[in-house]
């Protein structure tokens, strides 16, 4: 019973936040709704006994991405007061694509035979995850970190070029 109530609260956060993002005319509110939605998602992770993922979700999505979006909005003076329209010229295309995507997802969820285990969730997920990252999944893990490093260096180089051009 308690679990259902908590799940319900988190669902309201995720869906309400998502609905807020697409329906509000104020970009700043949209970013705040986005962080609400992300926080609700972290709640799901906690319910699934994945506390580490929940913390990562909060740090990366609420602490970094939502705040970067807010910062970008703050730096662009134009959107401070104007009411942005929710749609652009491609809305008819979205009207076709979104239901298709939705139906595909529903189809997948219903059709795929999801493996279900009756075993209790592992207590120490964290050490097992660490062992897997540096054991069986070492190469994907390292490739991913190299990718992130490339993105980081690329961002710095892009930002630097602008600086040089100005001088």
């Amino acid at each position: 019973m308690t679990e259902q109530i908590v799940f319900f609260i988190f669902t309201i956060m995720v869906l309400g936040g998502g609905l807020g993002v697409v329906s509000t005319k104020n970009l700043y509110y949209a970013a705040l709704f986005l962080s609400l939605s992300f926080s609700g998602m972290a709640g799901y992770f906690i319910m699934l006994n994945a506390g580490f993922l929940a913390a990562v979700q909060i740090i990366v999505y609420v602490g970094a991405i939502a705040i970067l979006i807010l910062f970008a909005i703050m730096l662009s003076r134009k959107v401070m007061t104007t009411n942005e329209p929710q749609t652009n010229k491609q809305n008819w295309l979205a009207l076709i694509v979104t239901p298709l995507l939705y139906l595909t997802l529903i189809f997948l969820v219903v059709k795929v035979n999801w493996p279900v285990s009756s075993a209790a969730p592992a207590l120490d997920v964290l050490t097992q995850m660490g062992a897997q990252f540096l054991g069986g999944y070492l190469i994907p893990f390292e490739v991913m970190s190299v990718l992130l490093l490339v993105a980081l260096v690329g961002a710095i180089i892009l930002a630097r070029d602008v600086e040089k051009g100005r001088e």
């Binding site: 506390g51 913390a55 909060i58 740090i59 609420v62 705040i67 807010l70």
Partner: protein, 419 residues
């Protein structure tokens, strides 16, 4: 904790006027609600005590007396201030975004209070022993940044907005060295749980981490000071430049919430530093007493813990009383060009040393013992201390040569203009 819950359960079972038997979880629920009341009750109390303490200490540093009229040593002054805050008019600027404006201060205060969930106050007394303990601390800190941003933006005031800009630059940059120093601690302790970290700081296991990892402690504490917006890192409020920064438009209880957030954050940082680097409630005779008489041992542990917390709080106030504020570029340079590389380098060397001294064990996979595992905890502590000092030495050399080069460049530039 368990004795108290058992005691509560027995108490509930023996209530004569209640006709139905209490469910077994009732004692736990009462205990949790009680804990929540304590955690959220500490917040305003901490603000009252710490404002008084801060005014007194800074007054002494500046050769003044400080508040001395209301009550003995002026300690009623803070209570009077609290009553004044409660009775003040709660204003909202006409152009403000009402909902985020009202949510911001609450978010700031709550994010600071949440940290206490993982800080063990005394042996056996902890909100929740999460296995992601110190990582959780970094995560809940993000909500504080969000709260600061909401407050700064929605006030619709240019000083508040400037404060919010600075908040993002500062809080997001200093989160990185802080997280890396916490990772270093996790590598050395082999766990992120605060209870395990305290357990590993027993003398037999190598003693306090401040001895083993002074550099990590310095990075953590300085980055933490920046996260709490305390002077000399108080650029986002900087009363002499941007009036009060992000909370310039707040009054009454909402202003009090911002202040509660600041002081509780300070308390949380001091509590965390005490837990991670000074062994938390560890001290002479605590464990022996706890095994004999749990309540007395717990109280003694609480006393030691509070003494350590107050020590850190005093250091923070001392900083505020003596150091001038950073300039924004100095602040970012210090964070990105000094603390971040230093903490990364320190993480590398610490991980190497830990690997050498690590005893055999299992952490998901079987871990072989390191070549020097025979030296035990004290060997690890001394090796870590030596590696930390080496890192500090190399860092000071690097800083010196960089400073010389930049000074040389400035001289060349001056000469070029003149010649």
């Amino acid at each position: 904790m368990e004795p108290i819950i058992t005691w509560l359960a027995n108490l509930l079972a023996n209530v004569s006027w209640w006709p139905w038997p209490a469910p077994p979880s009732a004692a736990i629920i009462i205990w949790v609600v009680y804990g929540l009341f304590i955690a959220f009750g500490i917040a305003p109390l901490a603000m009252i005590v710490l404002t008084w303490l801060e005014r007194k200490i800074i007054a002494r540093i500046q050769d003044r007396i400080g508040p001395n009229m209301a009550g003995p040593f002026g300690w009623l002054q803070a209570v009077a201030d609290a009553i004044k805050m409660l009775t003040k008019e709660d204003t909202t600027p006409a152009g403000a975004d009402r909902i985020p404006f009202n949510l911001g201060p609450g978010l700031i205060a709550v994010s600071a209070v949440l940290v206490f969930a993982v800080i063990p106050l005394a042996p056996g007394i902890i909100g929740s022993d999460l296995n992601i303990g110190i990582f959780y601390v970094v995560a809940v800190g993000s909500f504080g940044v969000l709260g600061t941003l909401m407050a700064g933006w929605s006030s619709n005031n240019k000083y508040a907005l400037l404060g919010a800009f600075r908040a993002v630059a500062q809080l997001v940059s200093y989160e990185i060295p802080m997280a890396i120093s916490l990772i270093t601690v996790a590598v050395v302790a082999g766990s992120m749980s605060t209870l395990t970290i305290i357990h590993n700081q027993a003398v037999a296991n190598g003693g306090w981490y401040i001895v083993a990892m002074p550099i990590t402690f310095l990075v953590f504490f300085l980055a933490g000071m920046a996260e709490t917006n305390r002077s000399p890192f108080d650029l986002l409020e900087a009363d002499s430049e941007i009036v009060a920064g992000f909370h310039v438009e707040y009054s009454g209880m909402k202003y009090a919430m911002v202040m509660i957030g600041e002081y509780v954050h300070m308390l949380a940082l001091a509590g965390l530093s005490a837990t991670i680097f000074l062994g938390g409630w560890r001290g002479p005779f605590v464990e022996q007493l706890y095994n004999a008489v749990p309540i007395l041992g717990g109280l003694l542990g609480l006393v030691y813990f509070l003494a350590k917390v107050l020590l850190f709080i005093f250091v923070m106030m001392w900083f505020r009383g003596t150091l001038p504020r950073f300039r924004i570029d100095q602040l970012l340079d210090f964070g990105w060009k000094f603390l971040t590389p230093l903490s990364l380098f320190n993480l590398l060397t610490s991980a190497f040393v830990v690997k050498l001294f690590q005893p055999a064990g299992t952490a998901g996979v079987a871990l072989p013992a390191g070549p020097l595992a025979g030296f035990g905890g004290l060997g690890l502590t001394s090796a870590l201390l030596i590696s930390n000092l080496l890192v500090a030495f190399i860092a000071s050399l690097a800083v010196r040569s960089l400073a010389r080069r930049s000074r040389g460049n400035v001289l060349k530039a001056v000469a070029g203009v003149e010649g």
